[in-house]
């Protein structure tokens, strides 16, 4: 085939395209992922007791809010990464800032807690459930977001995969926070942070296989 013939083929009757479609599709995929995560938590694990009481609602919302603070910049960055060359257009370290903030907060609260409270704050009965649930809840949202990002054209596949993992980990953690009854900051920092990091790592590893185009 001659290249000029190909150019004729591609340009004849070229359809207009909507460049805003990307932002919309990624946004929808994340929202759909969050809805799935919420549904799984509500119907399978069940929401925590007494969510209507103020003393329970506030810490639960706080966990959701902190995770949203990580999710938002990660989503924006993911949209950038989904475009060719997007990896050159924003410093990735910005996204780490909320993590660092939570870890500092956890360290602070451990410093002020007496020693014998430490193991209770970090290793309560819930940690195993948290570590298992968040990645499991993340599977369906992960598939949805990978499917959407595949329609785009990321050129840095490991990094894009990592951000898919990060976004999905956050979405899943937000869902899990509705169920999880442990509100201590060190618990949140270690087990939520750790599992979100695990999701990020998994995405980083799977990105080159799943996102190739």
């Amino acid at each position: 085939m001659k290249t000029d013939d190909l150019i004729d083929l591609l340009s004849t009757n070229v359809e207009p395209v909507d460049h805003r479609q990307i932002v919309r599709n990624v946004g929808r995929a994340i929202a759909a992922g969050a809805a799935v995560a919420m549904a799984i938590v509500s119907f399978v694990l069940g929401p925590r007791a007494d969510l209507s009481s103020f003393a329970i609602l506030v810490p639960a919302l706080l966990k959701v809010a902190i995770t949203v603070v990580v999710l938002l910049p990660a989503s924006i960055y993911l949209i950038k990464l989904a475009r060719p060359g997007g990896e050159h257009r924003m410093p990735a370290l910005l996204v780490a800032a909320p993590f660092v903030a939570v870890i500092l907060l956890a360290a602070l609260s451990l410093t002020f807690a007496p020693n014998y409270h430490w193991s209770g704050a970090v290793l309560s009965d819930e940690w195993l459930e948290c570590v298992i649930s968040i990645p499991l809840i993340a599977i369906v949202p992960f598939a949805v977001i990978v499917w959407v990002v595949r329609q785009m054209a990321p050129t840095d596949l490991p990094r894009t995969g990592a951000f898919v993992g990060l976004v999905v980990g956050c979405v899943s953690a937000i869902g899990y926070a509705v169920h999880c009854a442990d509100d201590s900051v060190p618990f949140f920092a270690l087990w939520y942070g750790g599992t979100i990091a695990l999701c990020t790592f998994t995405g980083w590893k799977l990105g080159p296989k799943l996102l190739r185009w």
Binding site: M1, K2, T3, D4, D5, L6, I7, D8, L9, L10, S11, T12, N13, V14, E15, P16, V17, D18, H19, Q21, I22, A82, R83, P84, G85, G86, H88, R89, M152, A153, T155, R212, W213
Partner: protein, 185 residues
């Protein structure tokens, strides 16, 4: 003729709005740059001009099929360069070549040279088309090769207009996939 960023991105924006003439100009400008880019990179590791032409065509198809990922408020050259380099790396990875001789690049490298003298690629459009389902082949034939409007193609084939558009889109996507498969085989 040295193409510049402003001119090219203007052509691209017009192309995204459906201006076929601007889009055609853009693709043929870019094809000359892509050809020179791939020939330069591949000659360095002893590969043929045909291979460069294959890659040029693949990059053009990728640019076309992924044109919705171009952000009109951003410069076009880095976007094209990212696609061109991605396809080059992907190609080298599949053909087991060493990538150690691939230098670090600037986006402007893609404009460094022009090469208007094309050869033929190994892809045979007719053969590739023959592998498509009838509906897609018919739609591409009328809209993309015979140049009929979508409405004309729809009334000729008895399909609805949106059906024609979808068949063209899916058909081009299938062509791209079979090109990629042919290369890795």
């Amino acid at each position: 003729l040295v193409a510049n960023e402003g001119e090219l991105s203007e052509l691209m924006r017009a192309g995204l709005r459906g201006d076929a003439v601007a889009y055609r100009t853009l693709l043929s400008r870019l094809s000359a740059n892509l050809r020179a880019y791939y020939r330069g990179r591949l000659a360095r590791i002893g590969r043929s001009a045909t291979e460069a032409e294959d890659l040029t065509q693949e990059a053009l198809m990728a640019i076309h099929m992924r044109r919705h990922t171009y952000d009109p408020s951003a410069p076009l050259i880095p976007w094209v360069h990212a696609i061109a380099r991605y396809k080059l790396i992907d190609h080298l990875r599949q053909t087991y070549a060493s990538m150690t001789n691939l230098p670090i690049e600037n986006a402007e490298d893609i404009l460094a040279q022009n090469d208007h003298v094309g050869t033929e690629s190994v892809y045979d459009l007719k053969k590739l088309m023959d592998q498509l389902p009838d509906k897609m082949r018919g739609a591409i034939q009328s809209v993309k090769l015979d140049g009929l409007s979508v409405a004309e193609a729809a009334s000729r084939s008895g399909m609805s207009e949106s059906d024609v558009k979808i068949s063209v889109h899916r058909g081009l996507k299938a062509l791209m996939t079979s090109v990629a498969r042919k290369r890795s085989a």
